[in-house]
């Protein structure tokens, strides 16, 4: 019993790390009193407990195995760079191989930029990085239709610091599997 709870917590923690719950969005009109809900508002936010149970029953997933290279989901970029550095190529290759073998899998490549400069221009910089990872994956045989490259610009830094080390951690592409 205790073990299951711990396992569920661990799974929930991992799921929480990799898949932030969809954002609940509430609308407020300018006029007082009227509210409307967006169609995309908070669907599966209460699912941390159930996702742990699902993790128990669905068996081993290499994506969730800390000892598997597929557990690595971030590709980092040098300043002003938009090419995948050699040290990160094995990660991209491993995910490309997994995607080729698992035709039902889909990924979103989330590009990110460091905090310096225009928010909108940083969206474009993050996009360029996500596109670079996508290009490498498709060259490795992954179907273009199962990979979507998008950008968060500087809006979601991994490291909240304001120095070179923090910026290096924030210039990245995160590989997110659908359903995570």
């Amino acid at each position: 019993m205790k073990k299951i709870v711990i396992a569920a917590l661990v799974a929930a923690f991992l799921a929480g790390c990799q898949t932030p719950a969809p954002a609940p969005v509430e609308d407020k009109s300018g006029a007082a009193g009227t509210t409307s809900s967006s169609s995309s508002s908070g669907t599966s936010t209460a699912g941390t407990g159930t996702s742990g149970v699902t993790g128990q029953t669905s068996g081993y997933s290499p994506l969730k195995d800390p000892n598997n290279i597929l557990f690595k989901r971030s590709v980092y970029f040098e300043f002003d760079s938009f090419t995948v550095a050699d040290q990160y190529k094995p990660i991209v290759e491993a995910h490309a191989k997994y995607l080729a073998a698992n035709r039902n899998a889909k990924v979103t490549l989330q590009g990110h930029a460091d905090e310096r400069g225009s928010r909108e221009y940083n969206i474009a910089l993050g996009q360029k990085r996500a596109d670079a990872v996508k290009r490498m994956m498709t060259l490795l045989g992954v179907q273009e239709t199962i990979v979507e490259s998008v950008s968060f610009g500087k809006e979601k830094p991994k490291n909240m610091g304001h120095d070179e080390a923090a910026w290096a951690e924030n210039r990245r592409v995160d590989i997110i599997y659908a359903g995570e």
Binding site: P20, A21, P22, A23, P24, V25, E26, D27, K28, S29, G30, A31, A32, G33, T34, T35, S36, S38, S40, T108, Q110, R116, G117, S118, R119, E120, Y121, I123, A124, L125, Q127, K128, D131, E148, S149, V150, S151, F152, G153, E155, K156, I176
Partner: protein, 425 residues
């Protein structure tokens, strides 16, 4: 019943929390050397109304940095009509202009607000007006009076009756808010647990376009302020961002990546008929329509570094506008059509600057270090922008001649992405 009660309570708590915490207060950091000395005499009968009008008029004018308020204490009797103003008395106090007025209840519950503006140097009446309003309209009336005074004495239209939009971030909670230009009466338009950026006012002030990441990717929405109804107008594969309204409010320029790379498109405001306006192998983004709608200003790295360009929508000719420095981004046209505001990097400092289309003359307005997202007031005289103070996002404003600087302070929350709304209609 239960549900609606909960909503009302939630709304009440919401409003209360704003009143206590989130309102922006505006401080003058540096003023114009030539501030106009003006005396605003408390209006006759004003004491009967807790909110009053003349205090808001004075606060508006002082906050603009263009006026200096002259003490009106101990002037007895207080004038309330133009003919009661003794010009020599006020000149003796250092005033160039004097505002007097009155407030009187009408039998139907409304209030008659009168004011007069006198040039006491020339001894001439500049204007006198009467408004019949409800007490709920006192603030709006005060802003209108301040607009009239500002225009009479500076020659430019006032923007005290306009509104601003901005994004607040408290923890992981993002809100798009709209407030009066003086920071009063903030209203939340959207709340999300994911970032919101780039709010842009429709030219008639009825809608806001913005970019929300609630679907784990940037999607452009348009939302009505009157009804709260919203629509995803650009939700293509890839990223959708950087909305900008055409001057007639019928079209939006956006940056889409659906066909590869960040490229510029123009579509109808409902999201239909998105057409790519240009093809490049580079980043093209941050488009803004020129004041006359004939061209797009945008940022591109096609020359190797991000610079500002102009696309003529008729001829498709592209012209590079910035050449100084290796990072010039976020162009916004000035309302007079003669130039644009943008962000430049100087060393490691990001600063707000303007540039003239014709002469290419650049003027740096702020010193940075992290100034971004400029937005021009509809009269072209003030530029609102975002920066940081004490590790938090704050808003600031600078006059387009760089002389008056203001800080918009909000306790406790991060504020960013300001957008100045159009003139009230």
């Amino acid at each position: 019943m239960h549900r609606s009660l909960r909503l009302v309570l939630a709304a009440a708590l919401f409003l209360l929390s704003f009143a206590v915490r989130a309102q922006l207060t505006i401080e003058i950091v540096g003023g114009a050397g030539t501030a106009i000395p003006i005396a605003i005499v408390p209006f006759a009968g004003e004491a009967a109304f807790p909110l009053g009008v003349s205090g808001v008029v004075g606060a508006d004018l002082a906050r603009s940095g263009m006026f200096r308020l002259i003490n009106t204490d101990s002037v007895v009797p207080r004038p309330s009509r133009a003919e009661e103003i003794q010009s020599d008395v006020w000149r003796g106090r250092g005033a160039d202009a004097v505002v007097v007025g009155s407030m009187q209840s009408l039998p139907d519950g409304r209030v008659e607000v009168r004011f007069a503006l006198m040039d006491v140097v020339k001894g001439s009446l500049l204007t006198a007006m009467t408004y019949t309003v409800t007490p709920a309209q006192f603030r709006a009336t005060a802003h209108k009076i301040a607009d009239v005074i500002y225009q009479k004495l500076t020659g430019d239209p006032g923007v005290f009756s306009t509104r601003i939009a901005y994004i607040t971030k408290a923890g992981a909670r993002y809100q798009l808010q709209v407030a009066d230009a003086d920071g009063a009466d903030p209203q939340t338009v959207v709340t999300s647990n994911e970032p919101i950026i780039s709010p842009r006012w429709a030219p008639d002030g009825s809608r806001l376009a913005y970019v929300s990441f609630e679907q784990k990717k940037p999607v452009v929405y348009v939302q009505s302020l009157a009804t709260g109804a919203r629509q995803a107008v650009a939700n293509f594969r890839g990223s959708n961002s950087a909305p900008a309204w055409s001057p007639d409010g019928r079209r939006l320029a956006v940056t889409l990546t659906k066909d590869g790379g960040s490229q510029l498109y123009v579509m109808n405001a409902d999201g239909s008929d998105a057409r790519r306006v240009m093809s490049s192998n580079a980043i093209d983004t941050e488009a803004h329509f020129s004041t006359d709608g004939s061209s797009l200003l945008f940022t591109s790295d096609r020359g190797g570094s991000p610079q500002i360009y102009r696309l003529n929508l008729g001829s498709n000719a592209v012209e590079r506008l910035t050449f100084e420095g290796s990072y010039n981004v976020s162009p916004r046209p000035l309302p007079d059509g003669k130039g644009f505001v943008f962000v430049r990097r100087d060393g490691g400092r990001f600063q707000i600057a303007t540039q003239d289309f014709g002469t290419r003359q650049m003027q740096v307005l702020t010193s940075g270090p992290v100034d971004e997202s400029p937005s021009v007031a509809p009269n072209g005289k003030i530029i609102l922008y975002a920066n940081e103070s004490g590790g938090r996002g704050t808003l600031a404003a600078v006059s387009s001649d760089g002389r008056v600087k203001q800080r918009l302070v909000s306790a406790g929350t991060d504020v960013r992405e300001p957008a100045w709304g159009p003139y009230a209609r």
